[in-house]
Amino acid sequence: MNQQPLLEMASLEIHFGRGRGRVKAIEEVSFKLARGGAYGLIGESGCGKSSVLRAIAGLNDHYGGSILFDGRELSPRRDKHWFKRVQMVFQDPYASLHPRKTVAKVLREPLRIHRFKDEERRIDRVLDEVGLGAAFRYRYPHQLSGGQRQRVAIARALVIEPELLLLDEPTSALDVSVQAEILNLLVRLRAERGLTYLMVSHDLAVVTHLCERVGMMHAGRIVEELDEADVRAGHTREAYTRAFLAASAA
């Protein structure tokens, strides 16, 4: 049993702006994510959950504190090797796919960058895995529904076989029936591939469906960490978490 967490945040801090306009967006955020685990960051808009995810993804290299991946501290500028192991799925499948590239082309790009061989076989396989099938190879994004696009976005993240998937509100732009399909897909893929998930969402029911552990964020801090069972049972120490749980239960 490997005890070392796959991802560890130690006192992460993020500031925006400079001089008198400097705002502390993230303060002392620390948490651990075990290999094969799923952790959800939850909170209202503006609480900093997406800022944390972006710092981990390497989309913002101005942060303080440290991020450890597989026991080693990451440099703020990520190298190619990192992106081979960590991939991200974005919220809006209408914005995250290139409108003039076919599905096959979108999937081929990361394979090229990371110098994979047998590209075509891998493309077919990943399309099967996300439930689309090879027939979707030659489709353009505008020929796909929202749910199908999100499947392509997930396929793009998975095609290079990463270990950690960063999920930024992966279902909030989708209808509930399609959301169910995507959540089922994420649950299945995690079991099949032994993936590790870090998810950001404002929807507590979605987060607890997918994650065993939840970090409640408020005003740039994690105010409380809860297990999935605690969330369901309403076991919480913090007043803010309680209010959030009550609002979500409605």
Partner: protein, 289 residues
């Protein structure tokens, strides 16, 4: 109970011409709304928003609209001129949209915008309009109306922005309010407050509310009746408190596909769409009341 309805729609059809023929998005909807809260739920593309827009005649110009009847308080909306519509919109029927960020003018102070909505339909001087606006801001539970009056939209939070929108839309005391996803852009923590403010004002004034939403639980909580739309038709109509005993497989499927907080669920049941749902006729008017 034969209380006259505020809004009556019979067999509404809306279609958009495309190179491949007419694409029908609303396919024969009939409904009646009195002084009550009626929710219209459905997924994207079900035609719920287009139905709401058609009432205010805000459907895009190139669309084809047909209806056997579409009347508001005895006025034939279908035949109404643009001039007549201008006297109805924002005055007797108001519409609240999803995101206050896009529906408020970013360059005009909030108070000015709200009072303008009132002065457009009432002959009243600036000072009176201002007083009325402050009262209205207070009634949507804005604590310091004097201060908020002078703010610009970007200085408001989402929840406060939406309450300002409600103030603006309700200041002329409309009889019918159409709210299209009024809380979808808001955090769960402020959603309830906004819905309570809206529900309370609608009730206190005896107005009618058409709440358009994809969120079944929200609608069940705040409405009296629920109409479920699928593929441009109404497939089920039921009292809001009986939503969880819905019969139609589509409504059931929507309810069951939600992840839940109160208990752990394995795989979520995925809605399998029966082509017969599309073909079944929309519920007739008699069954909707």
């Amino acid at each position: 109970m034969t209380e006259p309805s505020l809004l009556e729609i019979e067999d509404l059809k809306i279609g958009f011409p495309t190179p491949r023929g007419l694409h029908q998005v609303v396919r024969g909807v009939s409904l009646r709304i009195g002084r009550e809260k009626v929710g219209i739920v459905g997924e994207s593309g079900s035609g719920k928003s287009q139905t709401g827009r058609a009432v205010l005649k805000m459907t895009p110009k190139h669309a084809r609209i047909e209806a056997k009847r579409m009347s508001f308080d005895g006025i034939d909306l279908h035949a109404a001129s643009e001039r007549q519509m201008r006297r109805i919109r924002g005055n007797r029927i108001s519409m609240i949209l999803q995101d206050p960020k896009f529906s408020l003018n970013p360059l005009i102070r909030v108070g000015t915008q709200v009072s303008e909505a009132y002065r457009l339909h009432h002959r009243i001087n600036a000072a009176q309009a201002r007083r009325r606006t402050l009262e209205m801001l207070e009634s949507v539970r804005i604590r310091d109306p004097e201060r908020v009056y002078r703010l610009f939209p970007h200085e408001l939070s989402g929840g406060m922005g939406q309450r300002v929108m409600i103030a603006m839309m309700l200041i002329s005391e409309p009889e019918l309010i159409i709210a299209d996803e009024p809380t979808s852009a808001l955090d769960v923590t402020v959603r309830r407050q906004v819905m309570e403010v809206l529900g309370e004002l609608v009730e206190r004034r005896g107005a009618g509310l058409m709440l358009i939403s994809h969120d079944l639980n929200l609608v069940a909580e705040y409405c009296d009746r629920v109409l479920v739309m699928y593929a441009g038709r109404i497939v089920e109509a039921l009292p809001a408190r009986e939503l969880h005993q819905a019969r139609h497989p589509y409504t059931r499927g929507l309810l069951e596909s939600l992840p839940r907080l109160d208990r752990k669920r394995g795989l979520l049941p995925v809605l399998s769409r029966d082509p017969a749902w599309r073909e079944a006729p929309s519920l007739p008017l008699e069954e909707i009341r």
